[in-house]
Symmetry: C3
Subunit: 198 residues, 3 copies
């Protein structure tokens, strides 16, 4: 597990005394160049879609349903997203249990990949991330060993992505980050969410 | 585990390239006679309650709460259903873990029984399935071994039922199908849902 | 595990034939003095905040986020609370798995402490419990061994608290009480909820 300096603007701002994150004291997914980009995005007051383009995020193809459900549903001003997994650009899924097959860093990267997959569902179906006003609710589900304790750290991989696109206020909603007994196809992370539309 | 030809209209329509379901290649709960009935229901444009009667579904008694909660709650145009288990017509519950005590087919049947139990809560309290306009959100929770991977297949047992009653468009909402560490009374499946009312 | 007479007004009213609770046949967290107080609160038609003061509930400090999320979010008339853990007055968390490190009584007390932590988030940010009109939805997540079966009993620790504050009608919403594979920091219970505001 590679240790780097923790330079995320998120951790220091939002979690001044978070035990779990202090214990972590490890790299976040946002390196110095990304850090500067995010400050630029904030200063320039870029829209979500502009931020998305500036961050040069690579989206995987929007996933097809693995069962009888819709990937997303609009109800009035709300956009519901079904549970998404970590789809990669070649359409394959990241596979494995966190704390068993994947370490915490790889788990956090998988959660970020889930977030990218959710962005893909939005961009593919609505044409732009600017249709979303804000994140309301995220349920982050980690497929991990029973003794794993750092679920919030893992799901931050998705939440940091949302915050970098929609901003510190609108990109962050309520959340539960919890450990499942198992997940479909043995994916490490699944996330469902509710957004408010403009 | 009995293998039959997969003849569900749902799988082929909605999941043309679903890995999990292709791997499955097993019977769905809808046999040829049911298949024809569902096509009849679509062609005749039957209401949910008419479809329910035509399908001759046998509902279990609506369950009493196992704790301090309401089985359902109406908030404006939304109907919330508490987590439901697979109640059988004699009021007993289907018991056991999927992948341990129940195979995938039995697990899918249990999910269908959960769906029937949810329909019972609606019919018992509102008199008809026609009060529901559409399914918004389903959380399908499977009590299974840590190496189980086919949660979507299991929860399809409930989702196919909803689609047969409310139709392909209104009977299918967003969904997460995930694996729990355990469930009350060791039931194999629990489902909670949000519906939109007319 | 200490056995006392079951004297809760909740169990007998709401769960006349609950298998899980009958099997339990153990103490609830509400002793005779509390029982009388709750009847007083009902007769006097006290508001939630008045009931809260009359019950002399001791709230822990409102928790800081352990990750990138908001502890609560208001959307129109809805108040969303992120997943909360059992914070104690000294800011430490109750730790351990139910059925392994904690017995059912200790688990139920932990769920009550989660409820107190949620009340603290409301009181700290809104000044009073009277801003809440009613409980809409509770997701009660228990960190327990795979063979644990009494999740509703555990989560009643939180639900009884809500009912004692907001009343039998408004303090009780829909609910799922389920078993997770693991929870952050190995806490025994996590609860997220949606409330309706006045």
């Amino acid at each position: 597990m590679q240790l780097k300096q923790n330079n995320s603007i998120f951790d220091s701002r939002l979690c001044p005394d978070s035990g779990s994150l202090e214990k972590a004291n490890q790299t976040t997914l946002i390196d110095s160049a990304q850090h500067i980009l995010i400050i630029y995005i904030i200063i320039m007051n870029l829209s979500a879609q502009e931020a998305f383009l500036k961050l040069e995020l690579v989206l995987p193809p929007a996933p097809k349903p693995l069962g009888i459900y819709k990937p997303f549903l609009v109800d009035g001003k709300y956009l519901y997203l079904s549970g998404h997994g970590p789809v990669q650009p070649d359409q394959s899924l990241i596979i494995g249990r966190v704390g068993v097959d994947l370490d915490a860093e790889a788990g956090k990267l998988a959660a970020r990949q889930v977030g990218l997959t959710m962005l893909s569902t939005i961009v593919t179906n609505f044409g732009s991330l600017d249709v979303v006003k804000r994140v309301i609710k995220v349920l982050g589900m980690v497929n991990c060993a029973p003794d794993f304790e750092r679920h919030p750290y893992i799901i931050n991989g998705c939440s940091e992505l949302f915050a970098s696109v929609w901003g510190q206020e609108n990109g962050i909603g309520v959340r539960s980050a919890v450990g499942m007994g198992s997940l479909p196809d043995n994916i490490p992370v699944e996330v469902e969410a509710v957004f408010e539309l403009f």
